[in-house]
């Protein structure tokens, strides 16, 4: 018998459109409410941070991962947390970081937020389950 009403955190480490972890995590996340569970947050780490690229523009007949993350956020009010150290290295900057580094525009999509690795540790401690979707 499955435990009911659990709080979940997901960790996504894979790059979008190269391997499958973003798709697997989205499909898993979208299935949680029907089983009585709650998605609290998704943490994006390593190449997983590319899921937060604001200018992601796939062909119209392909899955738009950024839009699906946004829809997930709207549907389940989950936090979309991006490791700041992984993100800055890969050119994903929010308004504050863009300004600080002398760029005109941010490249991190809203509602993704840059956070430290401490948030991942906190998510692992605070929520009932942490599921990693690796590369």
């Amino acid at each position: 018998m499955a435990a009911a009403g659990l709080s979940y955190a997901l960790l996504v480490q894979g790059s979008p459109y190269s391997r499958q972890p973003a798709h697997s995590a989205l499909r898993f996340a979208e299935a949680l409410p029907d089983q009585g569970h709650r998605l609290a947050c998704v943490f994006f780490y390593h190449d997983g941070v590319y899921n937060a690229a604001a200018m992601m523009s796939p062909p119209p007949d392909e899955p738009h991962l950024l839009m699906r993350w946004r829809a997930l956020h709207d549907a389940q009010q989950c936090e979309l947390l991006v490791c700041v150290a992984s993100a800055l290295r890969r050119g994903l900057l929010d308004d504050g970081e863009a300004q600080r580094h002398g760029f005109e525009h941010a490249s991190l999509a809203s509602p993704f937020e840059l956070t430290g690795l401490g948030q991942l540790i906190e998510a692992a401690q605070r929520h009932d389950r942490l599921i990693t979707f690796g590369p």
């Binding site: 435990a3 089983q35 569970h37």
Partner: protein, 98 residues
């Protein structure tokens, strides 16, 4: 404390499943997703400890043409994504192997 071992690489390209075989304890379960479903090809998946169940995600098997009768091992149980969610809830923790 039971563990769900999540495997997303094929046993034909990665030795991860062999490592999982040594790590899995009685009462644990193995969940094959993504290319991990290829490990279920054939009659016999490598032996696991007693009372270790092996599952595969039907959506990923279907996407790879592995959903017809008899293609995957009879000892591997197919589950859909709802079943995958339930397995993560039933086990105390989920460990992802890459």
């Amino acid at each position: 404390m039971s563990t769900l071992h999540l495997v997303n690489h094929s046993a034909f390209t990665s030795r991860v499943l062999e490592e999982v075989r040594h790590a899995a304890q009685e009462g644990d379960a193995i969940m094959l997703i993504e290319d991990g479903v290829y490990s279920a090809l054939g009659a016999d998946i490598m032996p696991f400890a007693p009372r270790v169940s092996v599952y595969l995600l039907t959506e990923d098997a279907r996407a790879r043409g592995l959903d017809a009768d008899g293609i995957t091992s009879a000892s591997v149980r197919p589950v859909d994504v709802a079943g995958f969610v339930n397995l993560t809830a039933e086990h105390d923790r989920t460990l992802s192997w890459s």
